[in-house]
Symmetry: C2
Subunit: 351 residues, 2 copies
């Protein structure tokens, strides 16, 4: 039976009978006094599946007319609608909220269980500031829910990502004493000339890349980390010795994001992980959870990209990063360098 309702400013109001037929069995809308208030998104779907008819100013609106009207009233209505429809058709019960949905776990529903997910819906072409993502993360954490990002592409396909805070850690312990040789800062990398030092750094700490037998090239972050730890001395080509401040100033001129990379690198190392360049994967680092010896190198576990607090995600780039990481069986993590470094892990999700 089709139930009739009226479009008000931003919801459809249905009679008492709807509470029984639409809410009690299928959890559409919210009972208000002795009526059922149904959001525009739910209403469009209920019109589509023939459950309700909606009148506005004495005339019935068909799906097309209702959709056009709702699209003018609700920001991102199309995105929200197709995501709602997709989730509903996957068998989830959903309560619409302002920027997304509270989604109940399979088998759960309002009144029985708390919602499990908060699904934030956006379009591939809307840049996503990290600060917004963090606000969502804090909100869902307080509500003890899981954050899902539903990104709708230009052809209306939806990709779901789960976003979580994480603290990556590993089992590697750095046990290097002060080494007695001095390395040279060349144009944009550092060369260790002494064969013993090269060997110790590479074989015990997985630092650098051997240029040949006896010479080791270190990246700027590796060098600066070793310098800061007091393990290695570094000088310029004219033999001027460099301290941490000198070195990081020069390195920042070469790589504008050097300081955030270093902060993330240092935190990863301090957490027992071994970061190496992730260039081939298009990220700052690939990261190993354990390292015993160079000849038994496992596959790396994470791809980590260092960002700062002002970062704005391009969802196209985020999508590419996560897809690439997953295609090589790694997890994609963003390291946010602020006064502390914290980490956000983002993965495709099959709902």
């Amino acid at each position: 039976m089709t139930i009739s309702g009226k479009l008000t400013e931003n919801a459809v109001i249905l009679d008492k009978q709807a509470i029984e037929e639409l809410f009690n069995t299928s959890f559409y809308g919210r009972p208000r006094d002795d009526r059922l208030e149904v959001s525009l998104i739910e209403s469009a779907y209920l019109i589509y599946i023939g459950k309700i008819k909606v009148e506005f100013q004495g005339k019935e609106l068909d799906f097309n007319q209702f959709f056009l009207k709702a699209s003018l009233l609700v920001k991102n209505f199309e995105l929200l609608y197709i995501t709602y429809k997709d989730l509903r058709e996957r068998g989830y019960f959903i309560q619409p909220a302002v920027t997304g949905f509270r989604v109940y776990p399979r088998g759960g529903h309002p009144g029985k269980t708390p919602a499990e997910f908060f699904v934030f819906v956006t379009s591939e072409r809307i840049p996503l500031p990290l600060s917004d993502l963090r606000t969502h993360l804090d909100t869902v954490e307080n509500l003890k829910k899981r954050l899902v990002l539903a990104i709708v592409d230009e052809e209306s396909d939806i990709t779901y990502y789960e976003v979580k805070k994480t603290i990556p850690s590993g089992t590697y312990e750095l046990k290097l004493d002060r080494l007695k040789s001095t390395a040279s800062l060349l144009e944009d990398r550092v060369m260790v000339w002494d064969p013993d030092t090269s060997s110790v750094l590479h074989n015990e700490g997985f630092f650098g890349k051997p240029m040949d037998e006896g010479h080791l090239q270190l990246s700027l972050v590796e060098s600066c980390y070793l310098l800061e730890k007091g393990i290695l001395d570094i000088e310029q080509r004219n033999h001027t010795k460099l301290d941490f401040d000198d070195f990081s100033r020069i390195a920042s001129d070469i790589e504008s994001d050097f300081m955030i990379k270093l902060a993330v690198y240092r935190t990863l190392r301090n957490n027992g992980l071994v970061p190496k360049t992730g260039f081939k994967f298009g990220t700052h680092f690939r990261v190993y959870k354990s390292f015993e010896e160079i000849s038994k190198l496992p596959h790396s576990d994470y791809l980590v990209h260092a960002i700062d607090n002002n970062h704005v995600f391009s969802l196209q780039q985020l999508s590419r990063a996560v897809r690439l990481a997953n295609s090589v069986r790694k997890e994609m993590i963003y390291g946010v360098a602020d006064s502390n470094v914290d980490f956000i892990i983002i993965g495709r999700m099959r709902l």
Copy 2:
């Protein structure tokens, strides 16, 4: 036997004997009158393998001293040196040029065959303007060589990419007449309300994504292409009809790169290809070489990203794009929208 030479401003000069021992057999350096002139890169390598000794102002320079000196004289010396060494050790004969190397094919060498590759060496952290890449492409085209991009990452690993001009083409022929229904431009996509029109567009042209039975959502580029071709009429939510100029103006406000995307989309369609969104791959389009019917959809063949003439490649992003494309067995193509659209294909290369 170790041959002695002298460092001049930007080369090492060796006696006549070197022509026989280093050039005639192994093609190091270039004979000048009755001496052999060897570049600093080649010289560093020859010192390393113990073939030559080099004097400067009456004193012999060891590898370390020579390397530091050369690194001050030649821009990107370290990058060039490690790439030279890598190629040489893979068995190639090489002639250094200013920004890279002419590399002879396997089994070939100077005097016997022309060089096959021009290898342009750069660092992952140096942005690469499209205009520079085009200059290289034009140069190698005139010389009938193949362009190789050697990108050295921060830990001195080298990744080789081959870059080529290409004209992608496919076998799909669009045979749609003017359709009689009018679609609506919603917030950032277009909705076709008429079930027959939806079906024809999707099943015969692989346009859009069905929102449900009867309604089709089109992307902005798809809609604009159909509007331009006179196949579909589009109106705003208030029923104002839109012409090509109106539509493309609105679409450009939504997507700042809309016009270059449209130019590339149009060229791909005109070339018999079927482009769909490449969002999941982090590019503008995934592209099918053939399309017969929607139920027999093959895998797509290319990932295509639209750029304009002023594009500057981030090599990290380029690396990620190529790697992702190859991991899903597609080729990565950049479509450059200028007065014409032309295409550049970039792929990993195993030398």
